[in-house]
Each structure stands twice: as C-alpha cells, then as structure tokens.
C-alpha cells in the first residue's frame, strides 16, 4: 500500500483552483516535487498533513483520511514537516524546541526525550547550541534545528517545504548535506525544492507540477532526459 494516496484532489482558494484533480501515490522513497512558482507544490504538501483543507477528493496517509478532522493529529504524527521559514518556537531554547512535542504528545520521559534530542542535534551538528535560543542562531542553524525537531517525533515521512529557499548558498549546502545523509539512512522524504541538482542527486522520483496539475511523474533519470518542451524550458530557467 502506498504511504500517501492522493485521489482526485481539488484544492481552491476562493475561485482560484490551485490543485486540479490530482491523483498520485507516494511510496517509501524520496520524491521531489518541482515546478514553477505558484504551481501548487507547497499547497499539495500542506494538503497532505491537513494544514490546508481540500475541497474535493481524498488523501490517505498510511491509510488514514485527511477528510476527518479527528484523524489529523494522527496523520501529523506520521508526517514530520519542515518549513521554508524554519518556524522554531522563539520562546524555547533549542533543546526545548526539539523535546517539547515528544514529551507532550508522545508521552516520552524528559530524560529519554533529551537523550534522543542530543543524538539528533549531534547528527545536524548543533549539539553545542542546545541551550541557545533560535534568535541566537543563523538561518541555516535554525533550519537544522527544525529538521531535528521534526525527526524527534519519529515520523514515517518527512515533508520538506522549500527548506533551503530562505538560506544563502553556504547555509544551503549545510542543510542539504544533512538531508543527503538522512536520505542515505533510508528516511522517506517528499520535498518541494528549487535545488534541481540536489533533487537530481537524491530523489528517486520527480513530480513536475504545472498550474495545479501533475505535468510529469517519472523516475529521476528519465525526467532529466525527457523530450518535453515545458520541462526543458523549466530546467533551463532554474538550472
């Protein structure tokens, strides 16, 4: 069974149709969602964990429908999400940012949650910043904490919403290095990104969204050699 099953989904903001009758299955692999700005990439990701309600169709995450509001918390525990703007909690320090949800939601003991947090912070290279507040960290560091925060919930799937778009090239490299090592460990990731070369290197499958529809859905190698004018034009612009 597919991890995420998107069936005939239509999403509208008022009269503006952002996703138009999308049907798609996502499996235990790394998929990249590409497409021009405003094509509905981020919206699709936000629909998957119910941050945006859908008007038609259904999305099943691990067999659970996003249409039922009471399911949403279960779905969100399955899907970790990292945002473009990091969205760390500014009133909590790094270790509290990472441990709050495992303690409050998964019911972990503080000691074991902190132990797990330490290993995650070590993985993202920020163990020495554990007692710093988000405002004391650079953008790249904040984003790495945000990744650790999402991983602390042991999600089955990691949703990455343009996680490097707000970072300079050096910080982008830091964050991508971590994502690449996560990919190497077999973490299922669905990423919306403008880092084409990264997507090419890491993902197994590319979804190309244009004007709210899936314009291409193919293995990564095939995507970059496909003879399609729209895709070629897009790759020229971003590459």
């Amino acid at each position: 069974m597919a991890v995420i099953d998107i069936k005939n989904v239509t999403k509208k903001f008022g009269d503006n149709t952002v996703l138009n009758n999308i049907t798609l299955e996502l499996n235990d692999e790394i998929s990249a969602i590409l497409g021009p700005s405003g094509s509905g990439k981020s919206t699709m990701l936000r629909c998957i964990n119910g941050l945006e309600p859908i008007q038609q169709g259904d999305i099943l995450v691990d067999g659970v429908s996003v249409k039922t509001r009471s399911n949403l918390r279960r779905i969100r525990k399955t899907c970790g999400m990292v945002f473009q703007q990091f969205n760390l909690f500014p009133n909590l320090d790094v270790i509290q940012n990472v441990t709050l949800s495992p303690i409050k939601i998964l019911g972990q003991k503080r000691a074991s949650a902190e132990k797990h947090a330490h290993s995650l912070l070590e993985k993202v290279g920020l163990l020495e910043k554990a007692r710093h507040y988000p405002a004391q960290l650079s953008g790249g560091q904040q984003q790495r904490v945000a990744i650790a925060r999402a991983l602390a919930m042991n999600p089955k799937i990691l949703l990455l919403d343009e996680v490097t778009s707000a970072l300079d090239p050096e910080m982008t490299a830091d964050v991508l290095k971590i994502l690449e090592s996560l990919a190497g460990e077999g973490t299922t990731m669905i990423m919306v990104t403008h880092e084409i070369s990264f997507a090419r290197r890491v993902s197994k499958r590319i979804l190309f969204i244009d004007q709210g529809s899936i314009a291409a859905d193919m293995p990564t190698d095939a995507f970059f050699s496909v003879d399609d004018q729209r895709i070629q034009k897009f790759l020229q612009h971003v590459g």
């Binding site: 964990n49 119910g50 941050l51 949403l72 918390r73 969100r76 525990k77 899907c79 970790g80 999400m81 945002f83 703007q85 969205n87 760390l88 909690f89 500014p90 009133n91 909590l92 709050l100 949800s101 409050k104 939601i105 925060r149 999402a150 919930m153």
Partner: protein, 184 residues
Amino acid sequence: MDGSQFFFTEKATELSYQDLIFMLNAAGTTLAATLFSLLIGTLLGFILGMITTFKIPVLNKLPYIFIEPLRNSPLVVQLFLLFYGLPMLTKINFSKWQAAFITLGCNTAAFIAVIVHASVAAIPQHQWESAYALGHSYASSFTHIIFGQAFRIFIPPALNIYISQLHTSSLLSFIGFMEITHAG
C-alpha cells in the same frame, strides 16, 4: 484667596497624625478592593478574550456584546446604573462594595479581553502551523507554544490598564460618598 491657602489655614490645623493613619488605612482598603477587582477582571477578561480568538463564527463575536458597552462608556455611568439604577428596575440591590467589585471587575475584564485577543492575534500564523504539524491539538499548541509568546506581548498594555484602573477606583468613592451625605 485660592484653594491651597484655604487648605493650609483652615484645614491643616485639623489634620493630625491619626487622620494620616486613617487615610493610609483607607488607601489600603482601596488598594485591596482594586486588586481584587483587577484579579476578577483579568480572569473574566482572559476567558472572554480567548473566546474572541476562536475560529468559531458567531460565538467568537458574542463577547463583544459585553465588551464594547463597558469599554466605551464612563465608569461612573456604569457604577450609577448598577448601584442606583438596578434597584429601581428590579429587586436586585447590591451593597456598595458588591457594586464596586462588579463594576470595576467587569470594566477591567472588557479591556483585558481586548488585550488578550490582540496578544494572541499578534503571534504569527506559522507558529500555530508548526505546532499543528508536530501533532499538537489547539489546546496543546496554545498552552505550550502560543501562550508564552502572547504573554510577553500582553504584559505592557495590561500594566497600563491596571494602573489606570487603580486611578479610576477613586470614582468608586462616589457611591460611598453619596451614602454618607444621605445618611448625614
């Protein structure tokens, strides 16, 4: 001859240390009464303010029926309506202390409710979203993530209201004052 001269020549001679102690006691009573009203007002205001932050149509507007008249009319009018007006219309008759607590408490609640609403609304939507994305419910998001941030925004305007209400509490003497004159 202005008022100050009158005060020093005529009254100062009658002002003893005992009067000062009496005034200090009275100030203590005022302070205690005000603090109690502020406490009640803050609790009530917090509840009303929270309701206005809910995304539930109609319900989240209901508190304004209470809030707006209290915020936009003079406290003395509210006090007189409660203390003198209500007994004329109904059988409800508050003592002057009850009337003082209710008026100042509800008046404070109206102002605090609006500050609570503004403080919560000031927290960016993405803070809620990242809490939700981690699996928090509305209540858990609020208590663990939003409240701490909103509270910092809440404090300065709330302190302004508290100080202003402490000053306003002198108006409460109007009902006490009248009673003494009536009695005398």
